[in-house]
Protein backbone atom coordinates (compact mmCIF):
# COMPACT_ATOMS: atom_id res chain seq x y z
CA UNK A 1 0.00 0.00 0.00
CA UNK A 2 1.08 3.62 -0.56
CA UNK A 3 2.60 5.62 2.31
CA UNK A 4 0.08 8.39 1.75
CA UNK A 5 -3.13 8.10 -0.21
CA UNK A 6 -5.34 11.15 -0.74
CA UNK A 7 -8.82 10.73 -2.10
CA UNK A 8 -11.10 13.55 -3.26
CA UNK A 9 -9.37 15.91 -0.88
CA UNK A 10 -10.94 19.33 -0.48
CA UNK A 11 -8.73 21.95 1.16
CA UNK A 12 -9.31 25.52 2.22
CA UNK A 13 -9.57 27.90 5.09
CA UNK A 14 -12.36 29.85 6.77
CA UNK A 15 -14.93 27.71 4.98
CA UNK A 16 -13.65 28.61 1.50
CA UNK A 17 -12.27 25.81 -0.62
CA UNK A 18 -9.01 26.49 -2.43
CA UNK A 19 -8.38 23.06 -3.87
CA UNK A 20 -11.02 20.50 -4.84
CA UNK A 21 -10.92 16.86 -5.95
CA UNK A 22 -7.30 16.33 -5.10
CA UNK A 23 -6.25 12.73 -5.74
CA UNK A 24 -2.71 11.48 -5.38
CA UNK A 25 -0.58 8.85 -3.73
CA UNK A 26 2.96 8.75 -2.46
CA UNK A 27 4.92 5.49 -2.41
CA UNK A 28 8.11 4.61 -0.58
CA UNK A 29 11.12 6.06 -2.36
CA UNK A 30 9.13 8.60 -4.38
CA UNK A 31 10.36 12.16 -4.86
CA UNK A 32 7.23 14.23 -5.21
CA UNK A 33 7.32 17.90 -6.07
CA UNK A 34 4.25 19.94 -5.22
CA UNK A 35 4.27 23.03 -7.40
CA UNK A 36 1.88 25.91 -7.96
CA UNK A 37 1.53 29.66 -7.66
CA UNK A 38 1.49 31.45 -4.31
CA UNK A 39 -1.92 31.11 -2.68
CA UNK A 40 -2.76 27.98 -4.65
CA UNK A 41 -3.15 25.89 -1.52
CA UNK A 42 0.34 24.40 -1.22
CA UNK A 43 0.82 25.45 2.40
CA UNK A 44 -2.68 24.28 3.28
CA UNK A 45 -1.86 20.91 1.76
CA UNK A 46 1.26 20.65 3.91
CA UNK A 47 -0.63 21.54 7.07
CA UNK A 48 -3.26 18.94 6.23
CA UNK A 49 -0.69 16.21 5.55
CA UNK A 50 0.97 16.99 8.88
CA UNK A 51 -2.36 16.78 10.68
CA UNK A 52 -2.31 20.43 11.79
CA UNK A 53 -5.49 21.07 9.87
CA UNK A 54 -8.55 18.99 9.03
CA UNK A 55 -9.45 18.58 5.36
CA UNK A 56 -12.81 20.11 4.40
CA UNK A 57 -13.69 16.94 2.55
CA UNK A 58 -12.20 13.70 1.32
CA UNK A 59 -9.72 11.51 3.09
CA UNK A 60 -6.02 10.98 3.75
CA UNK A 61 -4.83 7.47 4.52
CA UNK A 62 -1.43 6.55 5.87
CA UNK A 63 0.07 3.14 5.21
CA UNK A 64 3.25 1.14 4.64
CA UNK A 65 4.33 1.60 8.24
CA UNK A 66 4.14 5.41 8.19
CA UNK A 67 2.61 7.01 11.29
CA UNK A 68 1.13 10.51 10.85
CA UNK A 69 3.50 11.99 13.45
CA UNK A 70 6.54 10.39 11.84
CA UNK A 71 6.88 12.70 8.88
CA UNK A 72 10.14 14.63 9.05
CA UNK A 73 9.11 18.21 8.44
CA UNK A 74 11.34 21.06 7.30
CA UNK A 75 9.34 24.25 7.77
CA UNK A 76 10.10 27.65 6.35
CA UNK A 77 12.24 29.65 8.74
CA UNK A 78 10.45 32.00 11.10
CA UNK A 79 11.67 35.38 12.35
CA UNK A 80 11.85 34.03 15.90
CA UNK A 81 14.57 31.58 14.92
CA UNK A 82 16.94 34.15 13.45
CA UNK A 83 18.10 35.34 16.88
CA UNK A 84 17.31 32.27 18.92
CA UNK A 85 20.09 31.24 21.32
CA UNK A 86 20.29 27.51 20.75
CA UNK A 87 23.12 25.15 19.95
CA UNK A 88 22.91 22.95 16.87
CA UNK A 89 22.85 19.88 19.09
CA UNK A 90 19.83 21.13 21.06
CA UNK A 91 17.88 21.79 17.89
CA UNK A 92 18.67 18.48 16.23
CA UNK A 93 17.85 16.55 19.42
CA UNK A 94 14.42 18.17 19.55
CA UNK A 95 13.59 16.16 16.44
CA UNK A 96 13.52 13.07 18.65
CA UNK A 97 10.78 14.48 20.87
CA UNK A 98 7.98 12.52 19.17
CA UNK A 99 9.46 9.39 20.68
CA UNK A 100 9.83 10.58 24.27
CA UNK A 101 6.17 10.75 25.28
CA UNK A 102 6.02 11.88 28.90
CA UNK A 103 9.65 11.02 29.57
CA UNK A 104 11.36 14.32 30.50
CA UNK A 105 14.83 13.46 29.12
CA UNK A 106 16.47 11.95 26.04
CA UNK A 107 17.82 8.39 26.07
CA UNK A 108 21.27 7.41 24.85
CA UNK A 109 19.66 5.94 21.73
CA UNK A 110 18.03 9.23 20.85
CA UNK A 111 21.28 11.12 21.35
CA UNK A 112 22.97 8.59 19.08
CA UNK A 113 20.30 9.18 16.46
CA UNK A 114 20.89 12.92 16.60
CA UNK A 115 24.64 12.40 16.17
CA UNK A 116 23.99 10.08 13.25
CA UNK A 117 21.87 12.56 11.42
CA UNK A 118 24.45 15.31 12.00
CA UNK A 119 27.00 12.92 10.51
CA UNK A 120 24.81 12.11 7.51
CA UNK A 121 24.55 15.79 6.62
CA UNK A 122 28.21 16.48 7.22
CA UNK A 123 27.69 19.02 10.01
CA UNK A 124 29.02 17.06 12.97
CA UNK A 125 31.68 19.75 13.56
CA UNK A 126 28.97 22.38 13.99
CA UNK A 127 27.38 20.47 16.89
CA UNK A 128 28.32 23.00 19.57
CA UNK A 129 27.92 26.13 17.47
CA UNK A 130 25.13 28.62 17.95
CA UNK A 131 22.34 28.31 15.42
CA UNK A 132 21.94 32.04 14.78
CA UNK A 133 25.61 32.42 13.80
CA UNK A 134 25.44 29.87 10.97
CA UNK A 135 25.01 30.68 7.30
CA UNK A 136 21.63 30.16 5.65
CA UNK A 137 22.73 26.91 4.03
CA UNK A 138 24.12 25.55 7.28
CA UNK A 139 20.92 26.47 9.12
CA UNK A 140 18.86 24.57 6.55
CA UNK A 141 21.09 21.53 7.06
CA UNK A 142 20.56 21.72 10.80
CA UNK A 143 16.80 21.79 10.33
CA UNK A 144 17.09 18.91 7.88
CA UNK A 145 19.08 16.91 10.45
CA UNK A 146 16.29 17.59 12.94
CA UNK A 147 13.70 16.37 10.44
CA UNK A 148 15.74 13.19 9.90
CA UNK A 149 15.57 12.54 13.65
CA UNK A 150 11.81 12.69 13.54
CA UNK A 151 11.36 10.21 10.73
CA UNK A 152 12.43 6.86 9.42
CA UNK A 153 11.05 7.12 5.95
CA UNK A 154 9.57 10.43 4.85
CA UNK A 155 10.65 14.06 4.57
CA UNK A 156 8.25 16.91 3.88
CA UNK A 157 9.93 20.15 2.89
CA UNK A 158 8.39 23.57 2.56
CA UNK A 159 10.37 25.73 0.11
CA UNK A 160 13.75 24.39 1.30
CA UNK A 161 15.63 26.63 -1.11
CA UNK A 162 13.94 29.89 -0.15
CA UNK A 163 16.44 32.54 0.86
CA UNK A 164 19.51 30.47 0.01
CA UNK A 165 22.24 31.65 -2.35
CA UNK A 166 22.64 29.60 -5.57
CA UNK A 167 25.51 27.47 -4.24
CA UNK A 168 23.74 26.56 -1.01
CA UNK A 169 20.57 25.88 -2.98
CA UNK A 170 22.37 23.46 -5.28
CA UNK A 171 23.91 21.74 -2.27
CA UNK A 172 20.50 21.38 -0.62
CA UNK A 173 19.06 19.76 -3.73
CA UNK A 174 21.91 17.28 -4.01
CA UNK A 175 21.66 16.31 -0.33
CA UNK A 176 17.98 15.61 -0.85
CA UNK A 177 18.67 13.62 -3.99
CA UNK A 178 21.22 11.50 -2.15
CA UNK A 179 18.90 10.82 0.80
CA UNK A 180 16.21 9.84 -1.68
CA UNK A 181 18.30 7.62 -3.97
CA UNK A 182 20.68 6.02 -1.46
CA UNK A 183 18.55 5.71 1.65
CA UNK A 184 15.18 5.36 -0.07
CA UNK A 185 13.70 8.19 1.97
CA UNK A 186 10.50 9.49 0.45
CA UNK A 187 10.71 13.20 -0.30
CA UNK A 188 7.75 15.53 -0.67
CA UNK A 189 8.87 19.02 -1.56
CA UNK A 190 6.80 22.13 -2.00
CA UNK A 191 8.26 24.79 -4.22
CA UNK A 192 7.33 27.58 -6.54
CA UNK A 193 10.58 27.33 -8.44
CA UNK A 194 9.14 24.78 -10.86
CA UNK A 195 12.09 24.10 -13.23
CA UNK A 196 14.68 23.69 -10.45
CA UNK A 197 12.42 21.57 -8.26
CA UNK A 198 11.22 19.38 -11.09
CA UNK A 199 14.75 18.51 -12.17
CA UNK A 200 15.12 15.99 -9.32
CA UNK A 201 11.55 14.76 -8.92
CA UNK A 202 10.04 11.46 -9.91
CA UNK A 203 6.48 12.73 -9.55
CA UNK A 204 4.82 16.12 -9.86
CA UNK A 205 1.66 17.45 -8.27
CA UNK A 206 0.55 20.76 -9.73
CA UNK A 207 -2.10 22.52 -7.66
CA UNK A 208 -3.97 25.75 -8.12
CA UNK A 209 -4.53 25.73 -11.85
CA UNK A 210 -7.41 23.67 -13.29
CA UNK A 211 -7.03 20.94 -14.32
CA UNK A 212 -4.84 19.72 -11.47
CA UNK A 213 -1.97 17.54 -12.54
CA UNK A 214 -0.64 14.48 -10.77
CA UNK A 215 1.66 11.95 -12.37
CA UNK A 216 5.22 11.08 -13.18
CA UNK A 217 7.64 13.79 -14.19
CA UNK A 218 7.84 12.45 -17.73
CA UNK A 219 4.08 12.83 -18.17
CA UNK A 220 4.24 16.32 -16.65
CA UNK A 221 6.88 17.44 -19.15
CA UNK A 222 4.60 16.32 -21.97
CA UNK A 223 1.39 17.78 -20.49
CA UNK A 224 -0.03 21.19 -21.31
CA UNK A 225 0.60 22.66 -17.84
CA UNK A 226 4.10 21.26 -17.78
CA UNK A 227 5.02 22.73 -21.16
CA UNK A 228 3.71 26.12 -20.11
CA UNK A 229 5.67 26.26 -16.82
CA UNK A 230 8.86 24.50 -17.75
CA UNK A 231 9.69 26.47 -20.86
CA UNK A 232 12.06 29.32 -20.17
CA UNK A 233 12.01 32.73 -21.84
CA UNK A 234 13.79 31.35 -24.91
CA UNK A 235 11.36 28.50 -25.23
CA UNK A 236 13.84 25.76 -24.29
CA UNK A 237 13.06 23.42 -21.39
CA UNK A 238 15.20 23.22 -18.27
CA UNK A 239 14.68 19.53 -17.57
Amino acid sequence: MAQILCENLELGYEGRAVVRDLNFEVNRGDYLCVVGENGSGKSTLIKTLLGLKKPMGGEIRFGDGLEPDEIGYLPQQTIVQRDFPASVREIVLSGCLNRTGFRPFYTREEKKKAEDSLERLGIRMLEKRCYRELSGGQQQRVLLARALCATRSMLLLDEPAAGLDPDAMQEMYSILEELNRKEKITVIMVSHDIPAAAAYATHILHVGEEPLFFGSKEDYVRSGTGKKYLSGPGGETHV
Binding site: L50, G51, L52, P68, D69, E70, I71, Y73, P75, T78, V80, Q81, F84, P85, A86, S87, R89, E90, I91, L93, S94, G95, L97, N98, T100, P104, F105, Y106, K128, C130, R132, E133, R146, A147, A150
Partner: protein
Protein backbone atom coordinates in the same frame (compact mmCIF):
# COMPACT_ATOMS: atom_id res chain seq x y z
CA UNK B 1 27.97 46.71 57.53
CA UNK B 2 27.99 43.04 58.50
CA UNK B 3 26.74 43.88 61.97
CA UNK B 4 23.84 45.82 60.52
CA UNK B 5 23.02 42.93 58.21
CA UNK B 6 23.21 40.27 60.91
CA UNK B 7 21.04 42.46 63.09
CA UNK B 8 18.48 42.71 60.31
CA UNK B 9 18.63 39.00 59.63
CA UNK B 10 17.68 38.24 63.20
CA UNK B 11 14.23 39.58 62.32
CA UNK B 12 12.02 36.89 60.79
CA UNK B 13 10.41 39.29 58.31
CA UNK B 14 13.77 40.04 56.72
CA UNK B 15 14.52 36.34 56.40
CA UNK B 16 11.08 35.76 54.90
CA UNK B 17 11.64 38.56 52.43
CA UNK B 18 14.95 37.02 51.38
CA UNK B 19 13.54 33.51 50.88
CA UNK B 20 10.53 34.75 48.96
CA UNK B 21 12.61 37.16 46.88
CA UNK B 22 15.10 34.52 45.76
CA UNK B 23 12.38 31.98 44.93
CA UNK B 24 10.36 34.50 42.95
CA UNK B 25 13.47 35.62 41.09
CA UNK B 26 14.28 32.02 40.23
CA UNK B 27 10.86 31.08 38.89
CA UNK B 28 10.32 34.31 36.98
CA UNK B 29 13.71 34.08 35.28
CA UNK B 30 13.12 30.49 34.13
CA UNK B 31 9.87 31.51 32.54
CA UNK B 32 11.26 34.73 31.14
CA UNK B 33 13.54 33.07 28.60
CA UNK B 34 10.63 31.34 26.94
CA UNK B 35 8.41 34.43 27.02
CA UNK B 36 11.06 36.72 25.55
CA UNK B 37 11.92 34.27 22.79
CA UNK B 38 8.28 33.69 21.92
CA UNK B 39 7.84 37.47 21.65
CA UNK B 40 5.46 37.38 24.59
CA UNK B 41 7.27 39.92 26.79
CA UNK B 42 4.26 42.18 26.84
CA UNK B 43 1.90 39.47 28.05
CA UNK B 44 3.72 39.60 31.38
CA UNK B 45 3.21 43.33 31.53
CA UNK B 46 -0.47 43.09 30.59
CA UNK B 47 -1.13 40.35 33.11
CA UNK B 48 0.47 42.31 35.92
CA UNK B 49 -2.00 45.14 35.31
CA UNK B 50 -4.84 42.66 35.40
CA UNK B 51 -3.45 41.39 38.68
CA UNK B 52 -3.55 44.97 39.99
CA UNK B 53 -7.23 45.27 39.02
CA UNK B 54 -7.97 41.95 40.70
CA UNK B 55 -6.05 43.02 43.80
CA UNK B 56 -8.20 46.16 43.99
CA UNK B 57 -11.33 44.05 43.84
CA UNK B 58 -9.99 41.81 46.59
CA UNK B 59 -9.13 44.82 48.76
CA UNK B 60 -12.55 46.39 48.33
CA UNK B 61 -14.34 43.11 49.04
CA UNK B 62 -12.10 42.74 52.08
CA UNK B 63 -11.23 39.11 51.31
CA UNK B 64 -8.98 37.48 53.88
CA UNK B 65 -6.78 35.66 51.35
CA UNK B 66 -6.41 37.95 48.35
CA UNK B 67 -4.44 35.39 46.30
CA UNK B 68 -7.63 33.32 46.06
CA UNK B 69 -9.23 36.17 44.09
CA UNK B 70 -6.23 37.47 42.19
CA UNK B 71 -4.83 34.16 40.93
CA UNK B 72 -7.94 32.82 39.12
CA UNK B 73 -8.67 36.20 37.49
CA UNK B 74 -5.09 36.55 36.25
CA UNK B 75 -5.01 32.99 34.93
CA UNK B 76 -8.27 33.62 33.07
CA UNK B 77 -6.82 36.76 31.52
CA UNK B 78 -3.69 34.83 30.51
CA UNK B 79 -5.72 32.16 28.76
CA UNK B 80 -7.80 34.82 27.03
CA UNK B 81 -4.75 36.78 25.84
CA UNK B 82 -3.16 33.64 24.46
CA UNK B 83 -6.30 32.74 22.54
CA UNK B 84 -6.60 36.19 20.96
CA UNK B 85 -2.93 35.99 20.03
CA UNK B 86 -3.80 33.06 17.78
CA UNK B 87 -7.04 34.34 16.27
CA UNK B 88 -6.36 37.28 14.07
CA UNK B 89 -9.57 39.20 14.67
CA UNK B 90 -8.31 41.27 17.57
CA UNK B 91 -4.55 41.57 17.16
CA UNK B 92 -2.56 40.28 20.12
CA UNK B 93 -0.77 43.50 21.06
CA UNK B 94 -3.94 45.58 20.84
CA UNK B 95 -5.80 43.13 23.06
CA UNK B 96 -3.00 43.26 25.63
CA UNK B 97 -2.89 47.06 25.64
CA UNK B 98 -6.66 47.24 25.97
CA UNK B 99 -6.92 44.78 28.83
CA UNK B 100 -3.97 46.12 30.78
CA UNK B 101 -5.02 49.77 30.69
CA UNK B 102 -8.63 48.82 31.30
CA UNK B 103 -7.75 46.77 34.37
CA UNK B 104 -5.52 49.52 35.72
CA UNK B 105 -8.24 52.17 35.39
CA UNK B 106 -10.92 49.91 36.79
CA UNK B 107 -8.79 48.95 39.78
CA UNK B 108 -7.90 52.53 40.65
CA UNK B 109 -11.51 53.64 40.25
CA UNK B 110 -13.03 51.09 42.58
CA UNK B 111 -10.26 51.59 45.13
CA UNK B 112 -11.14 55.27 45.24
CA UNK B 113 -14.88 54.68 45.35
CA UNK B 114 -15.14 51.89 47.90
CA UNK B 115 -11.95 51.67 49.91
CA UNK B 116 -12.36 51.93 53.66
CA UNK B 117 -8.70 52.71 54.10
CA UNK B 118 -7.75 56.23 55.08
CA UNK B 119 -4.71 56.28 52.78
CA UNK B 120 -5.91 55.21 49.33
CA UNK B 121 -2.99 56.59 47.37
CA UNK B 122 -0.57 54.85 49.76
CA UNK B 123 -2.36 51.54 49.12
CA UNK B 124 -2.30 52.06 45.39
CA UNK B 125 1.35 53.00 45.43
CA UNK B 126 2.37 49.91 47.37
CA UNK B 127 0.37 47.62 45.07
CA UNK B 128 1.91 49.23 42.00
CA UNK B 129 5.48 49.42 43.23
CA UNK B 130 5.48 46.80 45.96
CA UNK B 131 7.18 49.20 48.36
CA UNK B 132 6.60 47.52 51.69
CA UNK B 133 4.53 44.45 50.87
CA UNK B 134 7.49 42.10 50.96
CA UNK B 135 8.39 43.12 54.50
CA UNK B 136 4.91 42.39 55.80
CA UNK B 137 4.76 38.74 54.71
CA UNK B 138 3.14 36.28 57.07
CA UNK B 139 4.34 32.73 57.60
CA UNK B 140 1.42 31.49 55.46
CA UNK B 141 2.49 33.81 52.62
CA UNK B 142 5.99 32.41 52.72
CA UNK B 143 4.74 28.83 52.54
CA UNK B 144 2.38 29.59 49.66
CA UNK B 145 5.29 31.16 47.86
CA UNK B 146 7.65 28.25 48.49
CA UNK B 147 5.03 25.76 47.34
CA UNK B 148 4.25 27.63 44.16
CA UNK B 149 7.88 28.25 43.25
CA UNK B 150 8.71 24.60 43.72
CA UNK B 151 5.76 23.75 41.48
CA UNK B 152 6.94 26.17 38.79
CA UNK B 153 10.49 24.85 38.89
CA UNK B 154 9.24 21.25 38.80
CA UNK B 155 7.01 21.91 35.80
CA UNK B 156 9.93 23.56 34.10
CA UNK B 157 12.28 20.64 34.71
CA UNK B 158 9.73 18.03 33.62
CA UNK B 159 8.77 19.79 30.42
CA UNK B 160 12.11 21.46 29.63
CA UNK B 161 12.63 19.78 26.25
CA UNK B 162 9.02 20.28 25.22
CA UNK B 163 9.16 23.93 26.21
CA UNK B 164 12.31 24.30 24.13
CA UNK B 165 10.67 22.67 21.12
CA UNK B 166 7.49 24.71 21.37
CA UNK B 167 9.48 27.92 21.82
CA UNK B 168 11.90 27.31 18.97
CA UNK B 169 9.49 25.99 16.37
CA UNK B 170 5.84 25.54 17.21
CA UNK B 171 4.82 24.15 13.82
CA UNK B 172 7.50 21.48 13.80
CA UNK B 173 6.67 20.49 17.35
CA UNK B 174 3.01 20.19 16.44
CA UNK B 175 3.80 18.18 13.33
CA UNK B 176 5.71 15.63 15.38
CA UNK B 177 2.78 15.17 17.70
CA UNK B 178 3.65 17.60 20.51
CA UNK B 179 0.49 19.29 21.71
CA UNK B 180 1.78 22.81 21.32
CA UNK B 181 -1.55 24.37 22.28
CA UNK B 182 -1.51 22.57 25.61
CA UNK B 183 2.06 23.69 26.32
CA UNK B 184 1.26 27.28 25.41
CA UNK B 185 -1.61 27.11 27.85
CA UNK B 186 0.70 25.69 30.50
CA UNK B 187 3.16 28.53 29.91
CA UNK B 188 0.35 31.08 30.20
CA UNK B 189 -0.99 29.61 33.43
CA UNK B 190 2.49 29.43 34.96
CA UNK B 191 3.17 33.02 33.86
CA UNK B 192 0.01 34.20 35.56
CA UNK B 193 0.94 32.37 38.75
CA UNK B 194 4.46 33.77 38.79
CA UNK B 195 3.13 37.28 38.30
CA UNK B 196 0.70 36.97 41.17
CA UNK B 197 3.56 35.66 43.30
CA UNK B 198 5.98 38.34 42.21
CA UNK B 199 3.55 41.15 42.87
CA UNK B 200 4.53 40.88 46.52
CA UNK B 201 8.16 41.54 45.69
CA UNK B 202 8.12 44.14 42.99
CA UNK B 203 4.59 45.42 42.73
CA UNK B 204 2.53 45.08 39.61
CA UNK B 205 4.22 47.77 37.52
CA UNK B 206 7.70 46.36 37.99
CA UNK B 207 7.13 42.61 37.69
CA UNK B 208 7.76 42.28 34.01
CA UNK B 209 11.27 43.60 34.66
CA UNK B 210 11.92 40.50 36.79
CA UNK B 211 10.70 38.32 33.96
CA UNK B 212 12.45 39.86 30.98
CA UNK B 213 15.71 41.42 32.26
CA UNK B 214 17.53 38.26 33.39
CA UNK B 215 16.64 36.50 30.13
CA UNK B 216 17.79 39.43 28.01
CA UNK B 217 21.04 39.76 29.96
CA UNK B 218 21.78 36.05 29.60
CA UNK B 219 21.06 36.19 25.88
CA UNK B 220 23.75 38.87 25.41
CA UNK B 221 26.44 36.43 26.49
CA UNK B 222 25.35 32.83 26.06
CA UNK B 223 24.53 30.96 22.89
CA UNK B 224 22.76 27.77 23.80
CA UNK B 225 19.29 27.47 25.26
CA UNK B 226 20.46 25.62 28.35
CA UNK B 227 23.25 28.08 29.08
CA UNK B 228 20.84 30.99 28.67
CA UNK B 229 18.33 29.42 31.07
CA UNK B 230 20.98 28.67 33.70
CA UNK B 231 22.64 32.08 33.39
CA UNK B 232 19.30 33.82 33.55
CA UNK B 233 18.46 31.99 36.78
CA UNK B 234 21.82 32.87 38.33
CA UNK B 235 21.66 36.53 37.26
CA UNK B 236 18.12 36.84 38.56
CA UNK B 237 18.91 35.31 41.95
CA UNK B 238 22.06 37.40 42.38
CA UNK B 239 20.23 40.60 41.44
CA UNK B 240 17.29 39.85 43.70
CA UNK B 241 19.36 39.00 46.78
CA UNK B 242 21.80 41.86 46.35
CA UNK B 243 18.86 44.19 45.65
CA UNK B 244 17.12 43.14 48.85
CA UNK B 245 20.38 43.61 50.84
CA UNK B 246 20.90 47.04 49.37
CA UNK B 247 17.36 48.13 50.01
CA UNK B 248 17.69 47.11 53.66
CA UNK B 249 21.02 48.92 54.08
CA UNK B 250 19.99 52.07 52.25
CA UNK B 251 16.30 51.82 53.15
CA UNK B 252 15.19 52.14 49.54
CA UNK B 253 12.04 50.52 48.10
CA UNK B 254 12.71 46.80 47.55
CA UNK B 255 11.11 46.32 44.12
CA UNK B 256 12.71 49.32 42.50
CA UNK B 257 16.13 48.42 43.90
CA UNK B 258 15.94 44.88 42.55
CA UNK B 259 14.90 46.18 39.13
CA UNK B 260 17.81 48.63 39.13
CA UNK B 261 20.20 45.80 39.95
CA UNK B 262 18.77 43.93 36.97
CA UNK B 263 19.32 46.94 34.73
CA UNK B 264 22.93 47.18 35.89
CA UNK B 265 23.37 43.46 35.18
CA UNK B 266 21.93 43.96 31.72
CA UNK B 267 24.36 46.79 30.96
CA UNK B 268 27.25 44.65 32.22
CA UNK B 269 26.13 41.65 30.17
CA UNK B 270 25.83 43.84 27.09
CA UNK B 271 29.40 45.01 27.60
CA UNK B 272 30.67 41.45 28.07
CA UNK B 273 28.76 40.38 24.97
CA UNK B 274 30.41 43.10 22.87
CA UNK B 275 33.86 42.20 24.21
CA UNK B 276 33.31 38.49 23.48
CA UNK B 277 32.30 39.27 19.92
CA UNK B 278 35.50 41.28 19.32
CA UNK B 279 37.90 38.59 20.55
Amino acid sequence: MFETLSLYFSYPFVRYAMIVGVLIALSSSLLGVSLVLKRFSFIGDGLSHVAFGAMAVATVLDVANDTAVVLPITILAAVFLLRTGQNAKLKGDAAIAMISVGALAFGYLILNLFSKSANVSGDVCSTLFGSTAILTLTRADVWTCILMSVLVILIFLLFYHKIFAVTFDETFAQATGIRAGAYNLLIAVVTASVIVLAMKLAGSLLISALIIFPALSAMRIFKSFRAVILASAVISVVCASSGIFLSILASTPVGATVVCMNMAAFALAGLVGVCLKKT
